[in-house]
Symmetry: C2
Subunit: 126 residues, 2 copies
DNA sequence: TATAATTTGCAAGTGACTTGCAAATTATAA
DNA sequence: TTATAATTTGCAAGTCACTTGCAAATTATA
């Protein structure tokens, strides 16, 4: 593990919620080139240390977000006001997904789910 | 409705599955400029005639897909082999989403779900 | 320590849109 | 119908989130 990769992994570990590549590039802009940050993310995901997903939000556009890898598949809520994530816990869609798969004869290998809206903190401030 | 907008809407109507902006640009490349196609899509979605979502597939990257607007919210399966969509029917996640929302005190205003894998036709050809 | 393999920074390239602007269409008024 | 105003279009350039080529800098192995 090089310094850049170690620092990127540490930042994601500390965040405890999905972090976008752009956020990491900003955080490390005085230390590492964006290309290095992107390459570190690819390396860490390839090595199984990170998971990622793509999310679109009106304000920030379409970006890939990274979390520490976990064996258990989780889903997230994204607040459109403060842009923080709330952990929705382990996936509860397996039965429904299996059912859909069966109904249509599909070999479903993965699914993407996320919810958006306003988090409790932001709602209080409205 | 201008000619361009009418043609874009017709193409999506005939497709009966989500169509990407890129596919439409290709289809109309001899008739309309990509900027016109994109503007027609924005116009039609703004007027409530179309719905759209963003999906990432390894082969085609991240693109926005368009379907005719429907009051009932549906979800789709995307085949990673032939890149066609299968309708998974009306959303069955409302109860689970309401439960998550309640548990965390979130005001969930929308959710995104899609499944990927191999469709029956492609599986047969393997 | 010499040498080979890997990683990094920088600059340029990509792909999916988005935007400024002037010309072409279309709509409304006279 | 014709003058005038509003909207839409094509084209070129711009933006944004990455991605890639390449030579210099690090790091690993002999
Ligand atoms: Mn956001
Ligand atoms: Mn695809
Ligand atoms: Zn919030
Ligand atoms: Zn298929």
């Amino acid at each position: 593990m090089t310094k850049a990769r170690t620092h990127v992994l540490e930042a994601i570990t500390q965040a405890k919620e999905p972090v976008s590549a752009r956020q990491l590039c900003e955080k490390f802009q005085s230390d590492y080139d964006p290309a290095t940050v992107y390459r570190a993310l690819h390396y860490l995901e390839e090595k199984g240390r990170l998971d990622s997903f793509i999310l679109h939000c009106a304000e920030h556009g379409t970006e890939r977000y990274y979390v520490l890898h976990s064996e258990e598949h989780r889903h997230w809520f994204h607040c459109e006001r403060c842009h923080r994530f709330t952990d929705l816990g382990l996936c509860r869609f397996d039965d429904l997904v299996a059912q859909m798969s069966l109904e249509k004869g599909l070999a479903i290998t993965s699914h993407t789910f996320y919810a958006t809206g306003i988090c409790p903190e932001c709602r209080r401030k409205m």
